[in-house]
């Protein structure tokens, strides 16, 4: 009588086929898909460029600042960049549909720009990266963070050194 139970179950459940080209596709939340880059939280440490096994990530220095490029047609979705990123500036979305016609081949790139800024203390030109404040004790307040961010790396170190820390 086993086949009857299977028959009844199959009648109740319906087909196992996904609706995809005609309906929405099932996508897990933590699927490793297209890379997303947030330039405002990038620290500029370039560890993602170093750990990328396919060399899909490239940083380049331009007159406007430092550019970030992730080529989706080379990326193998390994997730190394997200794992090693100290500030979560790189995030893997669960967007998997990257198919495109060949004419769009060289448009499949995630682009970001870390702009240059002028240091408020010494007036030097430096990148407007997110400061490394993970180990700062006590944690920086929001105003301190914006003040720190407006400085060049040398003045940032000075700022952190001269910060008044309550005993």
């Amino acid at each position: 009588m086993n086949f009857l139970t299977i028959f009844a179950r199959n009648l109740k459940q319906g087909p196992q086929t996904e609706a995809f080209p005609l309906g929405p596709a099932f996508t897990p939340d933590r699927l490793r898909g297209r890379i997303e880059f947030k330039a405002e939280s990038c620290e500029g440490c370039r560890i993602c460029e170093r750990v990328c096994p396919a060399n899909a990530i490239r940083f380049a220095k331009t007159p406007d600042g430092m550019t970030f490029d992730c080529w989706h047609n080379t990326c193998v979705f390994c997730g190394n960049c997200e794992f090693y990123c100290p500030t979560d500036a790189i995030h893997q979305t669960n967007d998997w549909d990257l198919s495109h016609v060949n004419a769009d081949k060289f448009d499949m790139v995630e682009h970001g720009l870390i702009p240059n800024q002028t240091c408020v203390d010494c007036g030097a030109t430096a990148l407007n990266t997110a400061p490394m404040v993970k180990n700062a004790k006590p944690p920086l307040s929001a105003e301190e963070y914006t003040e720190l961010r407006a400085r060049c790396p040398k003045c940032r170190a000075k700022y952190l050194k001269n910060r008044k820390v309550p005993a």
Binding site: F20, P21, H72, C75, S99, N102
Partner: protein, 145 residues
Amino acid sequence: MGLIPDFKQIATRSPWIYRINAGSCNGCDVEMATTALIPRYDIERLGCQYCGSPKHADIVLISGPLTVRVKDAVLRMYEEIPDPKVTVAVGVCPISGGIFRESYAVLAPIDQYIPIDVNVPGCPPRPQAIIAGVAKAIAIWRERL
């Protein structure tokens, strides 16, 4: 005279798929087999079916970075497919070389040897992404026919 438009209408409903492995690691091939053969993804709803001979094919799925040793065989096989054909590059290897890029044994990207129409990046791409790519290829194929 009336036969030819009717024949065209019928023919555009079922493009047959042929698969060329240009030195792939078999990851993309497994995903392509999954796309076509198991009922969960069931590409036959789009009228597609794998065929065993390149002479019957309409849409070609190419995986792999085109290694030096396999290049002549792939080009010969590609010539055997009758026009109009639509080529789909599956995986990052045929598109850019992926992690094998700049290797001495690899001739990627494949579009310097074979005209590619649709790219499906991924390592490997999901079966749904392959279905989306094949759907784009069918649209191109209907225009060409």
